[in-house]
Amino acid sequence: MTQNRIKIVENILNANDHLANENRRRLSQHDIFSINLMASPGSGKTSFILATIKALIADAYQIGVIEGDTAPVTIDSDKINAAGMPAVQINTGGECHLDAVMVENALNQLPLDALDLVIVENVGNLICPAAWQLGTHSNILIASVPEGDDKPYKYPNIYRGLDVLIINKIDLLPYIDFDMDYFRRGVEILNPGLRSFPVSCTTGEGIDDWFHWLKAKLS
């Protein structure tokens, strides 16, 4: 019997990353722009998606939504269907994040030929989704004002991988002790020059700038 050391040096999430690349290639082949939308529970992810759908419908864009939840509910996908767009609900069975395999299965259930945009609503969580690539073109986080201004300092990894940051519920700023400079300084350390959109899905403030950015990506 011999004892040998074998050098490997393989990224632990290599299999997931490989499949994520496949998903991205498949979406690009269909001329679809795709978003991995992450946030904590209650930050307004579904409201933000519904507002985005409403704005894009006017320009005849077709949007598919993949909804990730840890429990077997269809609350979110029902809302998307009611807005006239196809949605696939993923029940992660308690897992704290979506992964590339789940997204691949969901893509099989969407009419990709007909779509311009796919939004993946990740499980509400600021830790785990940061580590798992899905294969979308853009990683977007919604940070809402009531969550507090210290979140970039407490959950640095999710901010580091972002392409766009949405700061939601800015209509509540007068009522909440939220130091925007402190918040932005934390974001800047983690992700210098990150594109951000302060919005309110309730009043509509700031949201046109987001639509403008997104439409430029779709055209």
């Binding site: 019997m1 011999t2 050391r5 074998i6 050098k7 490997i8 040096v9 999430l13 830790i127």
Partner: protein, 114 residues
């Protein structure tokens, strides 16, 4: 929180390479994990003992090489090791910093018998 899925990936990679090398047993697994990766060693050990049972990796010892988070300031070139909370440059207070190390997250090597 996602340690189970991570541990399953470690097992998959180790088994794949052990089979390729025609090993009869894997005795040690060496992981390199940067401080910026939010992984708890104890949880991985806990899941490892359960899921490696009845595989070629059963009873293999896990070794964690924790790499410190090293940052460099883009303004004044000051390099520093992150000890606690994330901070701006400790020399010039600039927020324009870059991560040099601490993101590592790979299976470095395995020790096998054959």
């Amino acid at each position: 929180m996602h340690e189970l899925a991570v541990t399953e990936s470690v097992l998959d990679i180790a088994c794949k390479h052990a089979q390729k090398a025609q090993a009869t047993k894997v005795t040690d697994i060496y992981l390199v994990i940067g401080r910026l990766s939010s992984i708890v060693d104890d949880s991985i050990e806990f899941y490892w003992n359960i899921i490696s049972k009845d595989t070629i990796c059963e009873e293999a010892q896990l070794h964690f090489n924790r790499v410190p988070a090293k940052l460099v300031c883009q303004e004044c070139a000051h390099e520093y090791i992150l000890e606690g909370d994330l901070t701006a440059c400790q020399n010039c207070q600039s927020v324009n910093i870059r991560v040099l190390s601490g993101d590592e997250f790979h299976l470095e090597s395995i020790e096998i018998q054959r």
